[in-house]
Every structure is written in C-alpha cells, then in structure tokens.
C-alpha cells in the first residue's frame, strides 16, 4: 500500500502533508507530556521494530503469504499517539532510504497507514475488548478485528486518493496525468487484495502477537486496557482522554470530505464513464496504442503487487459503483462513516466506563 511518487498529483500530496501535520504535532505533544524523556528512545526503537516486522512474510490461511504494517499492535501497546509517530517514522525511513513509497507521497502514506490505521485499530480494539481481563480470549479477537479493519480503512483511503486523480487531473488531450483509474475501478481493485490478503496478514500478526504478549509480557497490554488490569504497572499509553483532540480533528476532516467532492464537482463533467465501456472508443484506443493484445493476467511473482493491487479490471467492480458520482460519494461516506461511527460509539462507551468508575461500582 506504499504509494510511489507520480501516482498522486502535487495538490493531493500537499493536501495529505497538510492533513497529517496536525496529527504528528498533536501526537508528539501528547507523548512528550506523558513520557517525558522516554519519548525519543521508545518511539525510535519501536519504529525500527515496525520496519523489521513489515518485512516478515506471514503465512496466511490458504497457503499464501502477506506483509503486515504492524500499526495495530503498535496502537494496542503504545496507544494511538505512539503508533502514529512510530509507524510514520518507519514509513519515512522506508521512503527516504529504501525507496519504498514515494517521497512526495509520504504525507498520504502516513495518513492512510499510520494515522487512520492507528486510530481505527485503537478504537476497534477498545470497543470490542471492553473491560475484558488482560488474558481473555476476547482481547485476541478484538486485536484481530482491529488489525483487519485498520488495514482495510487504510486501503480504502488510498483507493479514494487514487480514484479522484483521473477526475481532477489530465493533460490537454484528456489523458489522466496520475493514477489513471476512476473510483469504481480503483476501489474494488485495491480492496480485493486488502480484504483477502493484506488485511488478513495484519489480523494474523495483531492477534498472534497479542496472544503471545498475554502469556509472556502482559504488562505491555495494560496501557490500553483501563479497568481490566490492576493499576500500578507503568503505562506507556497517554490514554483516551488525552487523545480526544486527535479524534475530533479526524472526525472534522472526514466530515469535510463530501464538501470537497461538491467543490470539485465541476470536474466530473469532463470525465465520462461511458468512454471505456463503449466498445467503439475502446477499439479506437486499442488502435491508437498499436493494437497491443489485452493482458491475459497481471504479471505475477512480485510480492508487493499482491498486497497492493489486484488486477484492476472493471469486471470486479460492483454495479452500483459504476456511477462515478455515486461511487465516490458512497466510498467517501463509507470511509468517513466507519471512522465517525466508531468515534461516537467509542466516546459513548468510554463515557459510560468513566461514569461507572466514578460511581465506584
């Protein structure tokens, strides 16, 4: 899911840097306030760890392998602020030193994987695990679901970023300048791989590591399990209450996405979904491109590809996504909705927990 340079327009890249910056700043302030001098060594070592774990070839059910991001287990052990920063740093090192992911796309990659991933994983984990005992089976399931959701939300965000490129940016002749596929292709193409492989890899890693820590080092899980554990052990999670501003910012930004769609609405007119489903224009394209035979299958063997993108063919797209306006609105709303809904639920639940704690029951 590491978006390379050249897939996103400069304005999209700038916007994603802009959106990510307040999260980085806020998360760092939270960490410094709670961890003081421990912040730097903990985050640095943890992001080095995430980098290494991203290289693990996880064996998945069905005989395939996949790579996890590790953001969900980071969110469970460090809390969302720590996960945002450590995964972001791992992504920066990957882009800058190892050429994995583009330098201009660092903002987007960090927003998708580190920021949205950490917040979704944290919310899902806290929501499902509730006040279950530290060693309960419920926490393993919560971790697995959190991992699966986090990666799929990240992938959906990446797909939306891809999908809006051809609507907004093309050259004088009308050729898309950046990622060429519209939403109704980009979304299913991205999601198939993530729903079946990358999401499962993150699920396997998160649930498996949590189960291991329950036995070997349960103290590391106490930070994000208030009410479940006897207090006294040192906690490295700044806690829900302190990360609330991060959540509110995310909520507001996502609520604003539909506004962005309306603002960009004029661009839709230039783009016609009928063109590529129109047999005549397809023949024309084929002739123009020197009658290249259609690909039988996407080249296989490149391991990153499986995690990233499964053959982007229109036949995969659900029929309701074929209307681009509807498809975009729906996907944006779905992404926004999932996150805002979990925010609301979570806030409600954490309020209830606090109320109960306050009454001393």
């Amino acid at each position: 899911m590491h978006i390379p340079d050249g897939y996103l327009s400069p304005s999209t890249c700038a916007a994603m840097y802009g959106v990510s910056t307040p999260f980085w700043y806020g998360a760092l302030q939270r960490m410094k306030r709670t961890l003081h001098t421990q912040t730097t060594p903990l985050l640095a070592v943890f992001s080095a760890l995430s980098f290494i774990v991203m290289m693990f070839n996880l064996p998945l059910p069905g005989g395939t392998t996949g790579h996890a991001v590790g953001v969900s287990i980071a969110a469970i052990v460090l809390g969302p602020a720590g996960a945002i920063l450590s995964i972001s740093m791992a992504l920066v090192i990957q882009a800058l030193l190892f050429g994995d992911g583009g330098i201009t796309a660092i903002g987007a990659n960090c927003f998708n994987m580190a920021i949205a991933g950490a917040l979704v994983a944290y919310a899902a984990y806290r929501l499902i695990a509730g006040r279950a005992a530290l060693t309960s089976r419920r926490r393993v399931i919560a971790a697995g679901v959190a991992g699966y959701l986090a990666i799929n939300v990240s992938a959906l965000l990446a797909a939306i970023e891809f999908g809006i490129q051809p609507m907004l940016f093309h050259d004088a002749a009308g050729a898309p300048l950046y990622a060429p596929y519209p939403l109704h292709i980009a979304i299913p193409a991205m999601m198939i791989g993530h729903l079946t492989i990358a999401g499962v890899a993150e699920m396997v890693l998160t649930a498996g590591v949590l189960a291991y820590l329950q036995k070997a080092d349960p103290g590391l899980l106490e930070g994000t399990a208030p009410g479940a554990a006897p207090s006294g052990a040192e906690s490295i999670d700044p806690g829900w209450r302190r990360t609330r501003p991060l959540w509110i910012t995310l909520g507001v930004l996502l609520a604003l996405t539909p506004v962005g769609i309306v603002a960009a609405g004029s661009a839709w007119g230039e783009w016609s979904p009928a063109d590529f489903s129109n047999a005549a224009s397809r023949r024309q394209i084929a002739r123009a491109s020197g009658s290249v035979a259609p690909p039988v299958a996407a080249p296989s063997g490149l391991r990153r590809l499986a995690d990233f993108w499964t053959s982007p063919m229109p036949r995969y797209s659900a029929p309701f996504l074929r209307s681009p306006a509807f498809g975009y609105l729906l996907s944006a709303m779905a992404g926004t909705g999932v996150i805002i809904l979990s925010c609301v639920l979570f806030s409600w639940m954490s309020g209830r927990t606090r109320a109960r704690a306050a009454t001393g029951s």
Partner: protein
C-alpha cells in the same frame, strides 16, 4: 557486515538446497531472506556513498533540496518529454558519480517497471487515452525512483537524515529518525539470530497454523525485547545529560560550490517545470 551477510547468505543457500528444510519453515526462510536483503542493500548503499564522485562531493543539504526540486518538477509536469529530460539528466548524474547503471537497474528500474507496469498496463484498455496515461505513470514513477536512488546511493544515511534540518524538520524528529536508523540494524540482527536459531531447532514440516504461531511469537519476542531495549537506552541517555531536548550540531557552512550546485538544480527544475506546464 558485508562479509558476514555474504557468508550467512551462503549458508542459506546450502540449507535451501534441502527441500524438506525449506518446507518445514517457509516463514523463517523467507523472513531471513528479506532481512538479509535489507542488510545487504544498506551495506551496498553505504559503500557507494563513501566512494568518490560528482554527487558524493556535494553537501547533503544542497543535494537533498536539489533532488527534491527535481522530483517536484517531474510530478508537476503535464507533458512527457520534460520528464524524459530529467530521466536523462539523472542517468548522466549517476554515471558521473560512479553509480553503475546495472545496480540502478537491478534495485530500482526492474522492480519499478514491473510494479508500475502491472498497474499501468490495463489502463491502456480501460481508460480513455490510457496509453498516454500509462506512459505518464511509468515515466514519472521511474524517474522519481531513480532520483531518490541517486540521493541514497551518494549520501551516507545519517548525513541524509541530518540534512532534513535544512527543510525545517524539527530537531526532535531528526533525532528520532537518526535513532530509528541506528536501531534498525540492532533489531535486524536480533531478528536474524532469532530466526536462525528457530531454523536450527525446527525438524520436519510445520502446519500453516503452527507457522503462523511461530511468526506471531517471533514478532512478540522482538516487541518485548524492543521495549526493554528502549528502557535501557533511555537510562543511557539520561546518564549523559539528556533532559528531553534534542540538539544537533549545526553543520558546517555551505561552500560556494554547494550553493552553485543548488542553484544549478533549482534552475534545471524551474526549466523543466516551465516546459511541463
């Protein structure tokens, strides 16, 4: 580091020859392979950065800013030929800096072509002006990947991270990135040792579920040890006067030739942006 990596890689090949061993723990084998590849890539990049050449002689700051400007120019371009121009310039810079094109081809071009090619190819058939669009996607991502490879292959990594200060990245972020880079190799070594001892203890074929359990437990052990390591490092930092603030020794002044090279980069980038409008 190199020799060790190579001798270990040799050992790997011997063990890989035994098919049963490979089947027994595909996860362990593949992960060791990935870890070795990473260590190897880093070692080669570090060695190239120490050799003498055009780019190696420049100040990391002017190099970082200059190459970023070129990447922006490529990303901004709305025509194909300015992108091709930058690509040609990147190839020339590589040759002038003693970076062998074969190395760039193997580690950058082929993976980028396969990856982006596989994504771009279908667009030829399903998107209007798909051919042109595919050309944009491939040329842009290939050129940007080549430019960032130039940066990485010609600059010691710690210096490159420190150059981020020139882009007004906060000192604490630069300090943390430097430390992340430093511990990358420690944790890589711990992971590799763990995998290798796991391999020597594994006999016979393992079921998928068993392999998943091992994989998760390995990540779990690494996580525990990393948290432990970070606590110790924290003490070592305190012992030497750390109070939570990051300081970097400001680098030496930019020399005239660093300014000149930065101006050349900027001028070329502006030219390309102009052509590409």
């Amino acid at each position: 580091m190199d020799e060790r990596a190579h001798s270990r890689a040799g050992g790997d090949r011997k063990l890989m020859a035994s098919r049963s061993a490979r089947r027994a723990s595909a996860f362990v084998e593949k992960s060791i392979h990935s870890l070795l590849e990473t260590a190897d890539y880093a070692a080669r990049a570090e060695r190239r950065a120490e050799s003498r050449g055009l780019l190696q002689r420049l100040d990391p700051r002017s190099k970082l800013v200059g190459i970023l400007l070129l990447i922006f120019a490529v990303v901004f371009s709305r025509a194909l030929w300015p992108i091709a121009l930058v690509f040609a310039a990147a190839v020339a810079l590589a040759l002038g800096s003693g970076i062998r094109l074969r190395a760039v081809a193997v580690s950058i071009w082929i993976p980028a072509l396969l990856f982006t090619g596989a994504i771009a190819l279908p667009s030829v058939f399903v998107v209007e002006h798909g051919g042109r669009s595919a050309a944009f996607l491939v040329s842009r991502s290939l050129t940007c990947a080549t430019l960032s490879a130039l940066l990485v292959f010609s600059t010691p990594w710690p210096a490159l991270l420190k150059a981020l200060r020139a882009l007004r990245v906060p000192a604490i972020a630069v300090a943390m990135l430097g430390m992340t880079y430093r511990y990358l190799f420690s944790i890589l070594d711990i992971a590799r040792d763990m995998m290798e001892s796991r391999r020597s203890r594994t006999v016979g074929a393992l079921s998928g579920a068993e392999q998943r359990r091992i994989a998760a437990a390995s990540a779990g052990v690494l996580l525990s040890r990393s948290v432990q390591l970070s606590r110790e490092v924290h003490l070592a930092m305190l012992s030497r006067g750390y109070r939570g603030e990051a300081f970097t020794l400001e680098e030496r002044r930019m020399r005239p030739r660093d300014w000149t090279s930065l101006a050349l980069f900027a001028g070329f980038a502006a030219l390309v942006t102009g052509f590409g409008r």
